[in-house]
Symmetry: D2
Subunit: 386 residues, 4 copies
């Protein structure tokens, strides 16, 4: 029997972290084979040249498609999307896969969905149906849903939203968040081992804050100030804080500038790109995740990790009881972080909370659907349900 060929598309570290376990499940599946298109920030030095990690993970790379412009203009992302689209068509014409597979709401998701729709190749989309108001990503995510042929949602609420969007129910599979699968498989490091690897000492008993804050696309002009406020709060609290760089979106350079103004504080450690092993163990040992990373919504509840989410990003998303939402206000930030680290009652509540994003077996579920669902006109010709 001929294996089905899946082309996965990956564009940035944060998304690859979630997808790598799916890619692995596909590679290991007896009826599937995988090739990856690596694009966007993965090919950029400024974002750690993470294509090298992908090579080391032994995935077959179908093509490397440079698409990230060195610019902070609001036009850069969509121009990059056009460049990416041109490249992807060439690869997909050559590889001629049975499925395209992509996650989320970044440029990669849109260009993949467009190629699949026009070239009549089914597109499997992970993490559609989510709702994060205040961001172009929200528009892109729902538009991708209208283009894609299969929807793997990470939670029940999103699956229901996709039904409302007029998608036929046979296309929807609520598999949970594949980002959790990967966490299970990451070897455990002690605090001491972690300290050594990261070159930054953490006492056995001292609390650690992890800070990851990205730009909101409708608030690009505020990027510098937003990060400045968070950094000022960090400085005021004086708690050991590990900072990871923001994504390569417009405004990201401004945030990096704000970070750098504080990088000389002794309790602050800045990292362009934290390798996965360190990152997961950091979350395991952390007392609080600060900023607006989707990891706070998606992965932290699995780890029973308190989260302080600053500003409008992630607002309105389905979340566990581990998340506190605050504004760009130093008082609110400090108060919430203090509660997350020192309020024992709150900490117990977080430990007991339910995780709406599943329990770490999404990857195998996705691979099974890709291996078995019929590829026919029913799948290829989309019919809105109303």
């Amino acid at each position: 029997m001929k294996k089905r060929k899946i082309v996965g598309i990956t564009g940035i570290r944060s998304e690859y972290d979630i997808m790598s376990s799916v890619f692995k499940a596909i590679t290991n599946h007896p009826f599937l084979e995988l090739e990856l298109i690596v694009t966007g920030a993965h090919l950029s030095d400024s974002y750690g040249n993470t294509v090298n990690e992908i090579s080391q993970d032994n995935f077959k790379i179908a093509d490397r498609i440079e698409s990230l412009l060195n610019s902070d203009q609001s036009s850069s992302r969509v121009k990059g999307l056009g460049i990416q689209l041109q490249g992807m068509i060439q690869t997909i014409t050559r590889v001629n896969p049975d499925f395209l597979l992509v996650l989320g709401d970044r440029e990669e998701a849109m260009s993949t969905a467009l190629v699949g729709a026009y070239m009549n190749i089914p597109v499997a989309h992970i993490a559609g149906g989510d709702r994060v108001i205040g961001n172009v990503d929200d528009q892109i995510r729902h538009a991708v849903t209208k283009l894609a042929h299969l929807h793997f949602t990470t939670n029940e609420e999103s699956a229901e939203r996709i039904i409302k969007l007029g998608e036929e129910s046979f296309r929807i599979f609520n598999v949970g968040n594949p980002g959790l699968d990967r966490i299970k498989s990451v070897p455990f490091l002690t605090k001491k081992e972690l300290s050594e690897k990261m070159g930054f000492h953490i006492e056995e008993t001292e609390p650690v804050v992890v800070l990851i804050q990205h730009v909101i696309s409708t608030e690009i002009e505020e990027a510098y100030n937003q990060m400045k406020i968070t950094m000022e709060s960090v400085k005021e609290m004086g708690i050991k804080t590990i900072i990871s760089y923001p994504n390569s979106d417009a405004g990201g350079q401004q945030m990096i500038k704000a970070i750098n103004e504080y990088r000389n504080e002794p309790f602050i450690h800045v990292s362009k790109n934290i390798p996965r092993l360190e990152f997961i163990n950091l979350l395991r040992h952390a007392s609080c995740l600060l900023g607006n990373s989707s990891a706070g919504i998606l992965e932290a509840p699995y780890l029973k990790l308190p989260v302080v989410n600053v500003g409008n990003r992630q607002k309105g998303r389905l979340h566990g009881e581990n998340v506190q939402f605050v504004r760009h206000d130093p008082n609110e930030i400090c108060q919430a972080v203090t509660k997350a680290i020192f309020d024992q009652e709150y900490i117990q509540k977080v430990k007991a909370s339910f995780n709406p994003y599943g329990n770490g077996d999404s990857s195998d579920k996705i691979a099974d659907v890709l291996a078995t669902i019929a590829i026919d006109d029913k799948l290829l010709i989309k019919e809105i349900t109303y």
Copy 2:
């Protein structure tokens, strides 16, 4: 008071025919000014170089963006979209408009919506919410709805579908089909004047069929055969038939080939590109519109013109009583055309039928909304209603 600047995007003759009255209404509006991005088939000799008509209509052209590849591959359209996207960003960065305006479900609609969404410029989309199963255009149209900020629908049913798609109701204006506005303003030609202009004699009393048939994107492989069947029916009936070329989609070249195999029949007249004056008067004098052109659904009811729609394109769309749907079958085609031309009872029913697409005043309504709606965060930040 500073006029609001609207950038309209136009990519092909058939769509420009509908949009030109909207463009005119904007130009004439005291609070609006207009520039056009001309792209796609407009710049191609094979499709009549229709950019020249646009120049003659005295619209200001912001840029000409070549994007149409000379190819029949299924990849060509989406590659063209990537090329178009790259070009549009440059123009829109320079012109910095208050609104982007585009119609329908072709590549132009998608690239416009993407540029607007990422660059935070409101996109007004005309003719969203329609439903035409069996075509990538359907996916694109609904995806564009999820990206656009204002929706001008051509009929009530589509407005309701857009509500269901989760769009906020303040964004939706059911204005009717602007293609009808233009019909009103086209000077009347007698059959004799029309004959002379088209270089093809039509007797005062003889019936005339107009044939326009496009490729269905999911049935590209069938393009040649589908057109061949229609041409064979035309040959069998021997009724005077005027044929206009299909759109520049993948498969179009195959259809043109099938047409050319019959072009020597004395009662057949083939035209790459029929100018608007002739086209409208042709519809006014025609006894039947054959094929699968959207004109049959949208414009024919206004003109009380019987339509025979062949195959899956347009199927399931809201239509007046003037449309008969048939399969790619010579018998069905001939029978339906004969009924349309000779069955007096049916002809009377068509004359009395209601037009679900409005009464020819859409353009002014669109211009008024663009001139008066507040451009603020409410408009720019889209919120799905569920």
Copy 3:
């Protein structure tokens, strides 16, 4: 020993006809392996979709890169070059070849040379050093020489011109025209067999003219008239004439229009794309090659075929005694064709003439150089000799 990997780039039928024997020699060479990038007109239905021939010739296709715009604008070629360039980088990054190989002065030659120069991969260029005033191709050809690392010239005069251009002599190999190699290997068809294959009867004794005329890039506006004049001459002479379509350059559509105005003459046979077997046998049996095809300069002397070259294209190129140059003037054209077909003294002179473009063993010579020349800094770092 690891084989050296050669990536050949091919963009159009006329050039592939010359290159295919080189590609074959590389494939057969024990120390070389070949992959092809297929681009430009090869992927266009309007130009016969000749990528299929390449597949049938069993060459490995590294990627298909659509680049030909459906347009007659003077901007289209260079825009296509930009599109092609973007695609080629992706392929060459993946394949990582030891050499790039390209012929001539079309967009492919320039994009290949640019990729090689910037990516530090040696570029072998065939047919540099030629001189054809009055055409952008001339500028491109010499610019490509300044970018390329190896020069395979088709004649002594061109080799000397490349020396003058400041190229180091170790980079230059005068191998003759590889187009001739291919002629040798094409099976012989009798006039009768040829007639049957082409669906056009040729009497055993009747003279046949082959007409191929391309656009001159600096005379695009004249394209229609130039072809019209030639067609008028053909009509006047009434000699059996086989016409092949012009290249996909700006203006080409105009020429096709002029051709089509005469295609109903009984002694005229028009072909979009003549397969190689038929084409070579057509030249073998033809009495005269008319137009401005480079085949008249390069291949006709090997076949001892009289040529009437019309207009400025090919003017000033090194040629055998078999070529008469005439202006766009019906009298001159008719007189020269008549001489070529009926003047026995002239015909004998042509038969005895010397061929400056070698004797059909270029392909093996090229393969040998690619297999043996050292790939080192001397090759990669170009030094102008003055």
Copy 4:
């Protein structure tokens, strides 16, 4: 009389510094008008967003064309060239200029020359004919010469080289280096004023070294080490040193990394981007220019400034007696810098030396030629002289 319209293309700060006086001379010329295409590094935050300076200089910007990829791959430059090319065609089609004007050997020069050649618009190229072995720029520069229609050389030697390249002599004007014009017009700052502006104290009597070192495209892998060696030498000497960032070429990020390892030394001052006023006055007050900037070859002799050129970049170029060439060797570097600063005999020799790059009146000469030379077939149709 209708003014001739010139489109100037500018892509990076270092080149704009040279071109701005030419742009000013064109703007001021009664028979010329100017629009600029701003592209490449000018639009990147990482390179100081220098498009803002251009706006402040009040030049009309025809379009902003993002083209710089955020990547250090060897493929990035040529991919950026393809992106740039696509954008430029659109602008030039709209503006329809009488001349294109560009300097040097970067991507902008090549894309401009290609657009001009294919679209039949004359290209005026500044600084062709120079010779800098060991760099793709050398290949690009000579290829651009073969494409361009007018050559403004900066020195006699280059003019002679262009003649040898087969260019017709009427196309060549040896006008000197326009970079010098700009120097004249920059207001003088005292050392104290300069110190204040740069936020870095310079004693009236203390020597100052200016360090600018770029990547060599054939030695990208060495970029980090090369910069490291220079930085180590700077550290050893302990002389006050002002460092400006390298260009946005592949490898540049590596050099920046090496610089940053030393930026905490008290006598080192690092600047992403030194504004022109400060830069020229810095050169006026400097004791030595270190690195491999072309400013050492082109501008330093005008200022009688000693230069220590490290490594292969600039090697073999025509230079005044003010330049010492050294290898990537700390000893050689320290010795040469010491000589430049303290050896009075050498300093006197530099003061008396002749400047092969003219005397600061190139801009007016260029404007005059553009205003008066006939734009006809002689100019447009290039003829190689052999």
